[in-house]
């Protein structure tokens, strides 16, 4: 008899489809990353190829990166989460309410808010049958409103919370702490997606919900869980961002969801669900961070980055199309 797990394993193994569809995309992305590094070495060698600068790139990628890991799971279920940017602000402000109670309480408050808002998304989508686009669009607006309202539109200084500041700006044996957190979250995400039954179920639900349901996969709890996961990633990102700026501002996180989605898409995860890769997401995030870094070093307008991002996304989706 086929267990749900066996069915999922047969049909929806991420990262190792026959013909290596995702792998080709990942190799292409590795190529792009190498090209960017080459470009940087050629045009800006003294500033670009230093370990400091490359570590900076990793650090700059880490906030959107953490969001993108959560987003990978959401998109794998054929869903989408448009609210992560606003939720970051809400989580940061929630933490900021407890600024006098120490770093740990701050962290808990941010985590709580992230899980709460993620849970609202999750409930609406999984059980309320609201389309993910609509539910998270509503949350995008609501969460921003919550952040602005709770903070009275004024940023909250967290200068004295040494622990949180270390999270954003500290170093572990020379590597920025936010980069370490990003790598850790990516590693956990990878293990979850590729080495656990849960990961297989997530991809199965995205690939063919009816088939998964008939095979015995508990579809609604799975869908519920990915949005809560996204909420947890939001909280982590919020703590990192607040630490970096030493200030919880209700205006942060604007359009971060688009950056996260873009990174996930160019990494090879399919927006239609059923295919997901954490490595691809990681590469996608690094690609964008490299572009930002190079443009800054060259003193070029950041708007060019947006144009380039748009072009890369289009190209990436076109490649995906041809492979399907």
């Amino acid at each position: 008899m086929s267990t749900p797990d066996a069915v999922a394993r047969r049909r929806f193994l991420p990262d190792a489809l026959p013909g290596g569809r995702i792998q080709l995309q990942e190799y292409a992305l590795v190529g792009v990353v190498l090209l960017l590094i080459l470009g940087g070495a050629v045009f800006e060698s003294d500033d670009f190829l230093t370990s400091d600068n490359l570590l900076n790139v990793l650090r700059q990628a880490s906030i959107v990166g953490v969001l993108a890991i959560g987003m990978t799971f959401v998109i794998a279920t054929a869903g989408i989460d448009l609210s992560v940017g606003s939720m970051v602000a809400a989580a940061a402000i929630a933490g900021g309410q407890f600024v006098d109670s120490g770093s740990f309480v701050f962290f808990l408050a941010a985590l709580g808010m992230g899980i709460l808002l993620g849970g609202v998304n999750a409930g609406a989508i999984a059980y309320g049958r609201v389309p993910p686009f609509m539910a998270t669009l509503a949350m995008l607006l609501a969460a921003r409103g919550i952040a602005l309202w709770m903070s009275d539109k004024t940023p909250i200084s967290i200068f004295n919370l040494e622990g949180i500041r270390w999270f954003g700006n500290g170093e572990i044996i020379g590597i920025p702490s936010s980069a370490v957190v990003f790598l850790a979250v990516a590693a956990v995400g990878w293990i979850l997606l590729n080495r656990t039954r849960y990961g297989r179920y997530v991809v199965a639900v995205g690939g063919n919900r009816e088939a998964a349901r008939i095979a015995g996969v508990k579809v609604r709890p799975i869908i519920f869980s990915v949005y809560v996961l996204s909420g947890i990633c939001v909280a982590i990102a919020a703590v990192m961002l607040t630490g970096r700026l030493a200030s919880a501002s209700p205006l942060v996180g604007n359009l971060y969801e688009l950056d996260a989605i873009a990174a996930v898409v160019i990494g090879g995860t399919s927006l239609a669900g059923g295919r997901a890769t954490i490595v691809g997401t990681f590469l996608g995030v690094i690609t964008f961070a490299l572009i930002f870094n190079l443009l800054t070093l060259m003193g070029l307008a950041i708007e060019i980055q947006q144009i380039t991002k748009g072009a890369i996304i289009l190209a990436a989706v076109l490649i995906q199309r041809r492979e399907t």
Binding site: L35, G39, T154, R244, A246, N254, M298, G299, I304
Partner: protein
């Protein structure tokens, strides 16, 4: 197969384009790069002074004027100065990232007009700790140790004079509505403080601020 190859090639080219050639900057037509004599670092007083200037994306006229005039001054000073201007950051986080990258370039002096003074204090501190003198323009950082010099208007004075004006015009009686710019930055807070102090001292409660609303400084149709 060939379409895919073509697309792959195109997208690699686009990536390169995104990082391609810097400054054909002779006419300086609104582009935000102005680097002359790249690769000749100033050493102990010789050669051009390497100045890095970071300012938020201009969402109103004043910021744009600052950025344009800075670039103009860079051009006027010609050989003496090697100026890099980053004026496209749309948020504190982006500006912090940009400044971190600017620090890599080891400028002789780093001038920062922060999006939010408080949020950019850590990165300014980082630059100061790295031995780069930091000049803080307009919106103040929250720790004096994070920068060497501050350049800005007398915002408290501006608020105070506004208060005086209101006291005169309203003859010390009336209701006032305050519409602020960006909440939470030193500029706004000092002006509000100055205003309140002036009307308090001159009118002793005759003028009341009945409502206060802050808006971010962009114009949007209602």
């Amino acid at each position: 197969m060939s379409v895919k190859r073509l697309v792959l090639l195109l997208f690699a080219l686009l990536a390169l384009l995104g990082v391609a050639a810097c400054g054909d900057d002779d006419d300086g037509g609104g582009e935000s790069v102005l680097t002359e004599e790249k690769g000749s670092p100033a050493q102990g007083g010789e050669g051009p002074v390497k100045v890095a200037f970071s300012t938020p994306a201009a969402d109103h006229g004043w910021l744009k004027a600052i950025s344009d005039n800075a670039k103009q001054a860079g051009e006027d000073l010609g050989e003496e100065v090697d100026l890099t201007v980053n004026d496209s950051a749309a948020s504190s986080a982006e500006q912090a990232d940009q400044i971190e990258t600017l620090i890599q370039g080891k400028p002789d002096v780093l001038v920062i007009l922060p999006f939010e003074g408080e949020a950019l204090t850590p990165v300014a501190q980082k630059a100061t700790d790295a031995g780069i003198p930091v000049v803080n323009v307009d919106r103040e950082f929250s720790t004096p140790g994070a920068f060497r010099t501050w350049i800005g208007g007398d915002n408290y004075g501006i608020g105070y004079q506004a208060g005086n004006y209101f006291a005169d015009e309203l003859k010390c009686k009336g209701n006032v509505v305050e519409i602020q710019g960006i909440a939470g930055i030193s500029v706004t807070e000092l002006r509000t403080e100055g205003f309140n102090d002036a009307i308090e001292q001159r009118c002793k409660g005759g003028i009341k601020v009945v409502a206060r609303q802050d808006l971010v400084l962009t114009v949007e149709p209602m």
